[in-house]
Symmetry: C2
Subunit: 339 residues, 2 copies
DNA sequence: CTGTTAGCGCTTTCAG
DNA sequence: CTGAAAGCGCTAACAG
């Protein structure tokens, strides 16, 4: 039950089974070069001794550690947990395990953590670059010959593997939907153009409104850390031409806005159109249920993991960019009918 | 810029610096046994060659890998991301890194993943046991001499290290608050008593109502995966003595309930008292803002990580149980005044 | 099909 | 203060 637990190694197993260490090693990796009877004997010995494979030792000899690094800038956010779900789904199939580190949106910390991951010998990296990440980081990683795919945000417009939602398309869909529902004064609420994901949203917003010859300057920056921050919204509402619809940075912002409007006696879906982004589970059951841009973080995670695994198998100098395209989930906060 | 990148080892560094590998190793671990000039020479060599410490190799010799395993049963949930935030905060200080795996509430998968973590040589384990985890799992882990702390749920009432919110106390606070606000017919909405965290909530609920000589059988099980599931709520509302207040399993359920009530023309905070649990960020800005039991997942994570690090340093056969005590965050959905 | 022989990159005695 | 030598547990040729 509780002996001194003297590390049972592959060698002990081999001795127990009366074979050489090399043969035992072959059994371990289910090589076809071993006879059935030998294999059985070795497996029995492993079971009996309670053998645990030591990957650390194996890594030393081989190339891969069977680990990848996951560098996120806000592990506390629900959106990232969905992303991890998608990544996990793929890597678990490949018997790979993820080491999770948090850059907390701080480039120095991000660098420290990436170095730490390198020391652990990760086979690849999935990274959502912190705001302010220098483009040089990617080439530094590339020089180490460690595959790296960026998710959700990218540091360079052109180089490096990247997987993210098609934010521009999603925002464009939302704008068109609002226009179809007769909204003319559409505002964008939330965030600042501090990274690619925010810029792409704003670009889609402006471009689509411009194409429809509508106002495209109703952009209200807010602090995403503080959901009670509505920026210049109060001023705008009091202005001569207040917005009649809102596209929000994400569902969290949208929910918060709806709460705000409701407390002012305004009904989202009737008095204002409101559209969020991300389609969080709770958005289906909020009051009113929220129309939202589906950004499919799980799908982004899956694609990123698949791309990384592929890069690990066959290194390639080319850059792949995958935009996961979204749809609009129409509910009552804009365009949907009551159930 | 991009040479063949021939793995630079401690040996290359030593050669470059004109010392032996052993000396270089001492420098690496900032031993005081090395002269300043030698140290400087070695460090210069490391920089020049772009040396990367290989922990895998070091582990082989030493005992610790500098990794812990994090076994969660639903990495997609926002609640767990808060937990990870707390854990990360502590381990990052100790230069330890977390390998994250998802049991997806499946005991077999959980076991497979734990085995995988063992192979990677994790120094310890933080685990939120999946529903249906046998008590034997803990003794199996204990036999491997790998420290393990359970979080949020525990498999055994008495043995094993555990850190979690004081669910019973929290629920009790909520009940008392509702009673103070004149509610008499209090229902518990959500979940089933399938693990300790749910049982503790229900125990706190029943016990406190009993003490106040009020009905304590208004318990409405629901499927937490489906926020639109309100179980027998409709029947209950149509009964002769419908509830006038709800304590919900968590904020997600509470938000969903509030949406449901609002769509029926009922105003939470006026027509019904509603209390959630977890104090998610979005609960502060919902409509109406939600009164909630603070379960402090970040604090739970911090405590769990601290306990684990301590166990890794000094193994101990005793069981520590830490209940992180909570408070009530009073907002308008019950007892709070409009801002 | 199985065993022998070298290491992978590092830490750790033990001698200088 | 520094170096030589042994070995952590495993895999990868290469011989039989």
């Amino acid at each position: 039950m509780n002996g001194p637990q003297k590390a049972v190694t592959l060698n002990s197993v081999a001795v127990e089974a009366g074979v050489s260490r090399a043969t035992a090693s072959l059994v371990l990796r289910s090589s076809p070069l071993v006879s059935v009877s030998t294999r059985e004997r070795v497996i029995a010995a492993m079971d009996k001794l309670g053998y645990i494979y030591n990957r650390g030792a194996a890594n030393l000899r081989g190339q891969k550690t069977g680990t990848i690094g996951l560098v996120l800038c806000d592990i506390g956010s629900p959106f990232y947990s969905q992303l991890m779900l998608g990544i996990d789904e793929i890597i678990v199939e490949a018997s790979i395990v993820a080491i999770l580190v948090n850059s907390a949106e701080n480039p120095e910390r991000q660098l420290r953590q990436i170095r730490r991951l390198r020391e652990h010998g990760v086979d690849g990296l999935i990274i959502c670059p912190a705001v302010g990440t220098p483009e040089a980081l990617l080439s530094e990683i590339a020089n180490l010959r460690i595959p790296c795919v960026q998710v959700l945000r990218h540091v360079s417009q052109t180089s490096g593997d990247y997987v993210g939602p098609d934010y521009a398309e999603g925002t464009s869909l939302a704008v068109k939907h609002l226009i179809q529902h007769g909204r003319q004064n559409i505002a964008f609420l939330g965030g600042r153009a501090i990274h690619s994901a925010a810029r792409e949203r704003l670009d889609g917003f402006r471009k689509t409104l411009k194409r429809h010859k509508l106002r495209h300057d109703l952009i209200i920056p807010t602090n995403l850390e503080n959901l009670a921050d509505f920026g210049t919204l109060p001023d705008l509402m009091a202005s001569s031409s207040p917005p009649d619809a809102f596209i929000c940075y994400n569902d969290m912002v949208a929910q918060s806005l709806m709460g705000h409007l409701l407390s002012m006696g305004k009904m989202p879906g009737r008095d204002f159109g409101v559209i969020g982004a991300d389609n969080l589970p709770q958005s289906a059951t909020s009051f009113p249920p929220l129309t939202t841009i589906i950004t499919d973080p799980v799908g982004v995670g899956r694609n990123a993991a698949r791309l990384l695994l592929d890069r690990i198998e066959n290194a390639s100098p080319s850059s792949t960019r995958i935009l996961v395209s979204g749809q609009l989930m129409v509910r009552q906060s804009c365009g949907g009918h009551a159930p």
